[in-house]
Symmetry: C2
C-alpha cells in the first residue's frame, strides 16, 4: 500500500497533480474473509466507481519471476460441531454403549476427501470450469523447484491431486482442508473419558465457476447427513467468497505487464492464485469493474500469514517504480479503450 | 477406605484385636493406570502376602441393587501423533499439494471402529474369551432402565455393539474410544492454515483373554500403517492393564455375598465391570491372590470420575456394617478352605 502512497506523493510533489484520477481504498478484513466490504461497496457505488482496479496483495511467482494474477480461488470456511452425551462420561462405564462425538467427527472428516486428494462430497465438482489448454501449457512451462519446496516444508513428499500437476492442484483445482480440530482431553497424560463434544474447522478453496452460496450449503448438508445415531452434527457458522477470473487480453493488462517489466527487470508471468481475496470479488461484483490488476511485489519466501513475515526494501523500491509506470501507462490509454472494457 | 478403617477401629476398641490378620494397602494412582504398584508388589511379596483381597473401588449395580464384581475390563491407553510440514502453512497457497495431518488423523480414527461399534483392527478379537451362557443369562435378568439412562446422558439413542445387549457391550465386550483430539487452530473464528500436527488419545478396553502387551503393539502398528505419503504417524506413549476374571464359586465369595446382604439388606448380583482396576491386576499377578472380592458401596449415580462426584452418609454406614460382617465371616473360614483356594 505504501508503494502507491509514496509514488503518488512524489508525482504530486513534482507535477502538482496525478496523470489520472485515483481512488484509494484500504480494507483491513482480508484475513477474516472481508465480510463487510460488499455492503460498503454497494452503499458507495458512485464514490468508488472506477475503470481499473489495481491491488498488490499477491506475491511474485518466485523470487526471480514477477507475476500478474488473473484469477484466484474462492473460499468456504465452516465450523463443524458434534455432540453426544450432555457431559463427558467415563470410558470404562459407558465405553461400548455411548456414541463418541470425536469418532463421529473423524468419520465425517474422513468422508470429505479421498487419499488421492479428491473431494468426495457429491456434486462438489459439478460446476468446476474446465481449465483451458493455454493455462495448462502456461503452468507446465513455469519452473517448479519441488526439491526446494519439500525442503522448505520439511516433508518427504508433496501430495497434489491425482491426475494434476503441483501447480494445477494449487491454482485451478478446488480443495478441502481441516484447519483445526478439538475435543475431549487435550492436555498431558490421559483421561478415560468419552468427550461430550468434538469440533473441527474446515476450509474449502473454490475455483471458477463454483459459487460459495452453492457449495456452502451442499457441504453443510452432506456433513450433517454423516451423523450417527446417538450423536448430533451441526454447522454453527460458515462464510464464503467466490473465486474469480479476470480477462488477460486487455489494454490495461498490457500496461501492467510493461510496468512490472520496468520495475522488476523481467516480464511477468500470468498465473492464478491458490488463495482468496474477498475484497476484489466484492468490488468486481458490486461495481462491475472488469479490469483487475493483481500485481504483488513480495516474494513467496516472504512468509505471508506465517510467523516471521517480512518484505524487503529492494522490493519496496521495485514496487514504487512499477506503480509510477502503471499510473502513467494507464493515463495514456484512450478513453475508448477503457470504456469498451468496463462496459 | 474409611469404612474399613472405622470398622477395624471399632472392633479393636471393643475386642482389643481383630478376628483375623488384616493388611491395608492404600494406592493412589488408579486414575493414571497404577504404573508403580506392580513393581512395589514384586519387591514386597512377603509383606503383602494374603489369602483374600477385598477392595471397594466399584459401584453397586444400581441404586437399589448391590453387586459384587467378579471381573473387569483391561485397558490400553495410547497417544497418536501425526505430523506433516514442519510449520503450519497457508491453506490457500499450499492447499491441494501438502498432506494435512488433521485429515490423516481423522482417517486413522475412522479406520479403528465401524459404525456398528466393532473394532476393525485386524487380530483385535483373536483372543476374546467366549462369554459363558450363565453370564449372558445373568446379564439378561438384570434390570436395565434405558429410558432413565438416556435421560441421564441426554441422548436419543444408546449405541451398543451390533449383536450384543447394553450390558454385554458394557461388561464383556472390548471397545475403543477417542478420549481427546487436537490440532491446528482451535480458538474462535477461523484461520486458513494447514496444521503442522494433529494428535489424539485413544482408550481401549480389553476383556479376558486379551493381553495389554499384545493388543498395545498390535494397535500401534496398525495405526502407524495408516500414514499417507507426506505425513508421519507415531505413538509417543502407551500403557496398559490386563483384564481380569476371578472365580465366583469360592467360600470367600459366599462370605462376601452374606456380608453385603447384611449391610445393604439385599443379596448382591454378580456382574463384571466395564472399567479397569490396575492395582488389583498387579496384586493378582504378583502375589498370586485368587480370592478377589470387589464389593463397592457407592451408587452408579454418584458420578465417579465426573464433576460433582459424591457419596452418601447412608452408604457409608451400610459399608461399615458390611466390612464388619466380612471380617468376621472370613475369620470363620477354615484354614483349609483358604489354602485350597489360593494354591
Amino acid at each position: 500500500m505504501l508503494t502507491y502512497l509514496n509514488t503518488m506523493d512524489s508525482i504530486i510533489a513534482a507535477e502538482g497533480t496525478l496523470p489520472l484520477n485515483v481512488k484509494l481504498l484500504v480494507e483491513g478484513e482480508e484475513e477474516i474473509g472481508s465480510p463487510n466490504i460488499e455492503r460498503f461497496a454497494r452503499e458507495h457505488r458512485r464514490m468508488l466507481k472506477a475503470d481499473t482496479l489495481a491491488m498488490s496483495d499477491t506475491t511474485r511467482y518466485s523470487t526471480r519471476v514477477p507475476a500478474i494474477h488473473y484469477g484466484y480461488r474462492g473460499l468456504v470456511n465452516m465450523q463443524i460441531e458434534v455432540t453426544g452425551p450432555v457431559f463427558s462420561v467415563h470410558s470404562g462405564v459407558f465405553g461400548g454403549i455411548v456414541r463418541n462425538p470425536a469418532m463421529v467427527l473423524a468419520r465425517i472428516l474422513c468422508h470429505l476427501k479421498d487419499d488421492d486428494g479428491r473431494v468426495t462430497i457429491p456434486g462438489f465438482y459439478d460446476h468446476v470450469r474446465r481449465v483451458e489448454q493455454w493455462e495448462r501449457k502456461e503452468m507446465a512451462n513455469l519452473p517448479v523447484d519441488d526439491v526446494a519446496l519439500r525442503k522448505y516444508l520439511g516433508v518427504d513428499t508433496l501430495a497434489p491431486e491425482q491426475g494434476y500437476t503441483l501447480l494445477e492442484s494449487r491454482y485451478v483445482r478446488p480443495t478441502l482442508d481441516v484447519t483445526g480440530i478439538s475435543g475431549g482431553y487435550e492436555g498431558e497424560g490421559m483421561k478415560t473419558i468419552i468427550p461430550h463434544r468434538a469440533g473441527a474447522k474446515v476450509s474449502i478453496r473454490l475455483v471458477p465457476d463454483q459459487k460459495a452460496d452453492v457449495i456452502g450449503p451442499l457441504v453443510a448438508d452432506y456433513i450433517c447427513s454423516l451423523a450417527l445415531p446417538g450423536s448430533r452434527v451441526t454447522i454453527p457458522h460458515w462464510y464464503g467468497n467466490d473465486p474469480m477470473l479476470t480477462p488477460t487480453d486487455t489494454p490495461a493488462m498490457a500496461v501492467a505487464k510493461r510496468a512490472i517489466e520496468y520495475g522488476f527487470g523481467r516480464r511477468p508471468v500470468l498465473v492464478r492464485s491458490g488463495g482468496t481475496v474477498g475484497a476484489v470479488t466484492a468490488l468486481h461484483r458490486e461495481l462491475g469493474i472488469e479490469n483487475i490488476l493483481m500485481m504483488g511485489w513480495s516474494s513467496p519466501e516472504d512468509g505471508a500469514h506465517a510467523p516471521n513475515e517480512h518484505f524487503s526494501l529492494e522490493d519496496f523500491d521495485r514496487g514504487m517504480k512499477t506503480v509510477a509506470a502503471l499510473l502513467y501507462g494507464l493515463a495514456q490509454l484512450k478513453e475508448s479503450e477503457m470504456t469498451k472494457i468496463s462496459s
